[in-house]
Subunit: 142 residues, 2 copies
């Protein structure tokens, strides 16, 4: 018998967890199928934002469906949480979005250096789901 | 200027890193687009394997394109690595694959409890890519 306790997180609880993290996985699909890469992210209002290199694989999003995943698993206590944001992604030229810049600078002191990556990816969520598990086997996540 | 050092990992180096992990993200696509969920995994030969619940979202894979992502990021030292396996996923009934069971039991002592999840998902890689970063900003991952 499983002793794990699984709790579904609300939208607000999910964003509270997202606010704790600094590294998440950008999830996208290209000609080879779905893929995920870790990125350093920030939360701006209800958006997930991160910087991207010119010419990277996330170019050309233009409203495509993407996802963003953040989790924390403690192997010792066998507990953890995960949040999955599903929505659309868009590239934004930093210079064109003073409003976004202002929101992020107000909310989140970014660890990123200036001037390396000019393109920002902004994810607008459609669904946000999350789970918290305690005293569990991690298999319970799905 | 960036001080980060980025090294592409070979197939064998990627599998060495995969062998160190216990939790990764299963990346798939459904009607809502791409998504990722953390799972407790094992490596069996060149395959990634994990257990799944009956009726979970990963049912009905049957050779669909999927991915599997594992990373480790140390915020303090600003270093880390990530590996992305891209390939196909298949559900396998445990009872039908004594050979797979034998390989896994020989290779990897599984932390999972017996009898909870009867379905196994087996990912067969087509591409395996990875990066190791040192003294970096995590933005460099993509």
């Amino acid at each position: 018998m499983s002793r794990r306790t699984l709790k579904e997180l609300s939208w607000d609880e999910c964003f509270a967890m997202l606010g704790q993290g600094t590294v998440g996985r950008f999830v996208y699909a290209d000609d080879l199928g779905p893929a995920a890469v870790p990125v350093n992210y920030a939360v701006a209002g209800q958006n997930i934002v991160f910087r991207s290199q010119d010419g990277s694989k996330v170019r050309g999003l233009r409203g495509h469906r993407v996802a963003f995943e953040v989790d924390h698993v403690d192997d010792t206590s066998r507990s953890g949480w995960s949040v999955l944001v599903r929505g659309t992604g868009e590239e934004v030229e930093m210079e064109r979005v003073p409003e976004l810049l202002r929101r992020i600078n107000d909310d989140v002191p970014l660890p990123w250096k200036e001037g390396i990556h000019k393109i920002w990816v902004v994810i607008t969520p459609k669904t946000v789901t999350g789970r918290r598990l305690a005293d569990m086997t991690v298999e319970g996540f799905i």
